[in-house]
């Protein structure tokens, strides 16, 4: 079977199957050369594909790999990839479904590390935005301050934490950590309960400061509200949402 008598589509489907499913699917008559040479060539392509995907997972989740150990991480990565996950993804996005898949693999504390490392990557790649600063807030009179609409910074992420993650990050243990990138560098902070509530309300939707205060007053003592908002603003987790014309 020469390609001239076949279609490019069929040839590529055949090659894809041989790369994915192994030597028994290598088409014997599509290529020049001995069967051994054709087999070796497909082995090289299959190895390149597999190696690149495994390395991409290693590079996306270095701390999880360290916690799980190289052998266990590689075995999990192979199982994840062999079951078809990430097959249509670019290398940079191949780890996107890894945490959800690992949730059923009994990996203990490593699951939170994987979830954190994916959120870190999301924060790293997120769009630029001018984070609201305390100086910016201080310039507003009370009326304008209460009317200011707040939103989460595009790079702000929240992630469940455990002892293993706190140890890796060198932070005191908390139930959640905050990732922010108000400028170029990502910084990570522990979130306390009040800050966590404030983040949740802003994650739900952008809100005027007055509305945020009202929402938080249902969840906490009023003396806790301002420090929680100040903490998020001070961390660079919040932007001022510009209002369109009425």
């Amino acid at each position: 079977m020469g390609v001239a008598m076949s279609s490019l589509h069929e040839a590529q489907a055949t090659m894809a199957r041989a790369i994915l499913e192994g030597p028994s699917h290598v088409p014997g008559d599509l290529f020049e050369g001995s069967a051994k040479r054709v087999m070796m060539a497909f082995a090289s392509h299959a190895n390149t594909v597999s190696h690149a995907r495994l390395v991409a997972l290693e590079e996306t989740f270095p701390h999880a790999r360290e916690l799980l150990g190289e052998e266990r991480f590689n075995q999990l990565s192979r199982t994840f990839l062999d079951s078809g996950h990430g097959s249509d993804a670019s290398l940079g996005d191949i780890g996107g479904g890894f945490a959800a898949w690992l949730a059923g693999q009994n990996v203990g504390e490593a699951l939170a590390i994987v979830q954190f490392e994916w959120k870190w990557l999301e924060s790293y790649r997120a769009a630029e935005a001018l984070a609201l600063t305390m100086q910016g807030l201080a310039q507003l009179d009370e009326e304008r301050l209460l009317a200011t609409v707040l939103d989460l910074h595009p790079a702000a992420r929240r992630c469940d934490a455990n002892a293993a993650l706190a140890g890796i990050l060198g932070l005191p243990q908390s139930e959640q950590v905050l990732l922010v990138r108000p400028d170029a560098e990502i910084t990570i902070l522990s979130l306390d309960e009040t800050q966590n509530h404030a983040f949740s309300l802003l994650e739900e939707k952008s809100r005027p400061v007055s509305n945020l205060f009202a929402g938080l007053s249902e969840l906490m003592n009023e003396t806790q509200i301002l420090p929680a908002i100040i903490a998020l603003v001070g961390a660079g987790a919040v932007v001022k949402k510009e209002q369109g014309p009425c």
């Binding site: 490019l8 894809a16 790293y124």
Partner: protein
């Protein structure tokens, strides 16, 4: 390490000079962006700096953050070439136009001197292979591939370079050589060639062809950029496989083919590619110096001729 640069705007577009450049890796940002002296010069030895740099644009598609900032800072200092690995020009379903749109957005910001991808395919409708897979060299495939190049060039609003691949396989139904395919592709689409001389040697080793014949058959006028890289070899008893892993120094045989081409073509922008087991920058600088020596050796006569 140099701190992450602040965002900047400005027109970066400069042509690639006929000098040695380097495939830029994040661990080498501070080496190619040394602190400026008070009089605006570089603190690093200028002979260790590249004449230009190449990046895989897919590594900079982020909406923001450090990677795009580094790229913008590099582009302010050097002519930049974008070497894409994600368009899959040869896919039977057609090129990945969503990827082309992402590339276009980055090109609008950075204005690279060159943009290129490969004579290969990487995608089917439900698989994205991180590899450059071979195409048959026949008329139907040439028609299909030329349409893809035209489609991409139209979307990008400029011509591109297409790189000759490293091949481990030749199709039984091939009706033309790779050189014939590439020359006809350039004629039909007005694209240029990214001539990878290591790939010529890898393909020749694997397919039993004569690399010098390929070197001599390529029209220098079509070549916008040259790639040099290292490759691995695997001994399988009665056959040897050359693997295009970009993980070692440029082989002596590749240097000889490069010298042969430059002697005929004159100086061309020449990239040192090293993508796996990336060494210290000084090793890459040494490889660039070797390329510069070849360019200088064959430079004078061509300057006079010009």
């Amino acid at each position: 390490m140099t701190s992450i640069p602040s965002p900047s705007s400005g027109a970066f577009a400069r042509p690639l000079p006929p000098k040695a450049g380097v495939g830029l890796k994040p661990q080498h940002y501070s080496k190619v962006l040394p602190d400026r002296t008070e009089d605006g010069g570089d603190t690093a030895e200028s002979q260790t700096l590249p004449g230009w740099v190449e990046v895989h644009p897919q590594n900079y598609f982020a909406d923001g953050g450090p990677a795009p900032r580094w790229l913008a800072a590099v582009a302010e200092r050097y002519p930049v070439s974008f070497h894409s690995t994600g368009i899959s020009l040869g896919s039977a379903e057609g090129p990945d136009m969503a990827e082309v749109d992402r590339l276009k957005r980055l090109m609008d910001r950075i204005e690279p001197a060159m943009v290129s991808d490969h004579l290969s395919w990487s995608q089917t409708s439900n698989h994205n292979f991180p590899d450059l897979l071979p195409l048959p060299y026949d008329e139907p495939t040439l028609d299909h591939f030329a349409r893809a190049v035209e489609q991409v060039q139209n979307r990008l609003g400029r011509t591109m370079l297409v790189e000759n691949p490293s091949r481990y396989l030749a199709f039984a139904g091939d009706t033309m050589s790779e050189v014939e395919f590439l020359i006809e592709l350039c004629a039909r689409t007005e694209c240029g060639l990214l001539f990878d001389i290591n790939n010529v040697l890898v393909s020749a080793t694997n397919l039993g062809t004569d690399p010098a014949e390929v070197i001599d058959a390529i029209d220098p006028a079509l070549v916008g950029e040259i790639h040099l890289a290292g490759h691995a070899t695997e001994d399988h008893g009665d056959l040897t496989m050359a693997i295009d892993d970009h993980g070692s120094a440029v082989a002596d045989a590749t240097w000889a083919l490069y010298d042969r081409f430059i002697a005929r073509a004159g100086p061309k922008p020449t990239l040192i590619e090293w993508d796996t087991d990336v060494p210290d920058y000084s090793v890459l600088a040494g490889e660039m110096a070797k390329a510069e020596a070849v360019l200088a050796k064959h430079g004078c006569s061509h300057v006079v001729a010009a």
